[in-house]
Symmetry: C2
Subunit: 316 residues, 2 copies
């Protein structure tokens, strides 16, 4: 049930033909602002625009032919749905994504664009669960959870392995935390590949359930937190908690700090990154004392953002 380092190595070999080896960018100006040397791992440029293509691809390409014939399914109005659709399309297997009818049209279009089926539910947990159960009954599809799945965690772990080959002598790695899939994969991969690497997570103050869980020593789940970093609203689950509890710290930042860091990333790195991606840089800017003088890998998790609704508005 709990994935191992060998699972990460197997994932790396399995997904390599299907994902991008994303670039690592640096900025002298941002380094001057933070006092650290930052290495930005650009998973915003990953296939389907998010690191979640790694875990989804690992899950889909690890299925037996018989399983694959029945397809895969998930519930997600975020990057996991799009990335699972991408992976399924790449293997040519059926994929169903359940999402609330209130989800952005762009998300539905993206899933359909990869050849997957969108099944809409009401925007409530009970409706989602009922509709998803129907989908599972009707298709016999394999459920691929967005993060509480060993195949997904092993797949996300390939990102940290790749980063280690691209940036020498890192002292620390920091990633945003929502459900904890990326952080779990990072812990798993570095536990063998670089056991002395410090690992931090960064979270919005307005969705700080992981930080409170970390302090309390058990999972705390919030009811409907609200943050611009919409990929980070989901709670930890038992598999990710197994890994997340072992990291060095979880740092929290305000909404304004997230937007400022996001704009800095766009301006200085010249890349399109979604709000969730900016949370770690916001945490580094806020906690100079922790990171100054260190070489830090910063995982930019996704780039799926509505270019017509940017948080800094359309005018000066």
């Amino acid at each position: 049930m709990i994935p191992t380092f060998d699972d990460v190595l197997a994932a790396e070999a399995r997904i390599r033909p299907h994902i991008h080896r994303t670039p690592v960018l640096t900025s002298r100006m941002i380094d001057e602002m933070t006092g650290a040397s930052l290495f930005f791992k650009c998973e915003n440029m990953q296939k389907a625009g998010a690191f979640k293509a790694r875990g989804a691809t690992n899950a889909v390409f690890g299925l037996s032919d018989a399983q694959a014939a029945r397809g895969v399914a998930t519930h997600s109005s975020g990057n996991h749905g799009t990335c699972l659709a991408y992976a399924a399309g790449r293997r040519g297997v059926p994929c169903t994504v359940v999402m609330p009818h209130t989800a952005p049209q762009a998300k539905k279009d993206a899933v359909r664009g990869y050849g997957a089926r969108v099944v809409e539910c009401e925007p409530s947990t009970s409706s989602r669960e009922a509709v998803f159960a129907e989908v599972m009954d009707g298709t016999g599809a394999e459920f691929v959870h967005p993060y509480n799945d060993p195949r997904v965690i092993a797949g996300q772990g390939t990102c940290a392995l790749e980063l280690e080959t691209q940036a020498d002598g890192l002292d620390a790695v920091i990633a945003p935390i929502g459900g904890g899939g990326m952080v779990s994969g990072t812990v798993l991969a570095l536990s063998e590949a670089a056991p002395d690497r410090r690992i931090f997570a960064a979270e919005p103050e307005q969705a700080d359930d992981a930080a409170r869980s970390f302090r309390a020593g058990h999972i705390i789940a919030d009811d409907a937190p609200d943050t611009i970093a919409d990929g980070l609203k989901v709670p930890l689950k038992e598999l990710t908690w197994h890994f997340v509890r072992r990291i060095d710290d979880i740092l929290t930042v305000s909404e304004a700090e997230i937007v400022a860091a996001m704009e800095l990333i766009w301006k200085r790195l010249k890349i399109v990154a979604e709000p969730s991606s900016a949370v770690p840089l916001a945490a580094i800017l806020k906690n100079r004392d922790i990171f100054a003088g260190q070489r830090v890998g910063v995982i930019l998790t996704g780039g799926n953002v509505d270019l017509r609704k940017l948080p800094w508005g359309g005018k000066e």
Copy 2:
């Protein structure tokens, strides 16, 4: 006076410590749309946000100590001014940039941010020339022209050399054309490094002086052309014409085609690229017959754009 291939090799060694080896990105979706295999060379991620850091750095670091002590100067309200300021700051030599007082505040701030001096003139050629002559008299600075300078052309040529090591077996390379510095450097570099490579330039219809020059066989300069691709308004000069006349073709595109290609680049490649950078992709989309089935290097020239004034507006 005319730079040689050895000048490009010397430039490469000279500027290497001071510039980024920028990534090359691909997109399956854009490839499907064009029928070609495109390799986007991300000079938008170059130091100071534009390929012009290459030529400017080559010019600045090629100066003798005595020359360097007197500093460098140029007139530019665009990327060359910022990039020359970057290079001068990097070597620690004085730099003066003459620009009209009507230039965007962000451009003035960027130049000053690198430690250079901004001297303002009226937005007319006569005022610019008078003010610039005063600056030259007062400082004894070395004039580094934005493109009609052998040191600058040799520096820009390093981009195509680098791209050749990052994308195997290209059939063609395409770059935007304004004054022709990047295209000239590309011709110069590939004339020895890859002599069978086809070379195209792309230009806005609304500033198509290079295309008309190419057809006419002599330089035609327009008076104040207007295009969203504001880096491409300047005319060819004798040094760049020497190289530009030898390329395969110059393709032109409309303003709407530029904006559409720009949005496609932001959405699919997840990068911030300025309008000029999008002109080559617009030309490829418009000329499928030329590029279909080919492996094409596409030079994205810069990423300096006002994030609060995007051409697709702030609403759906």
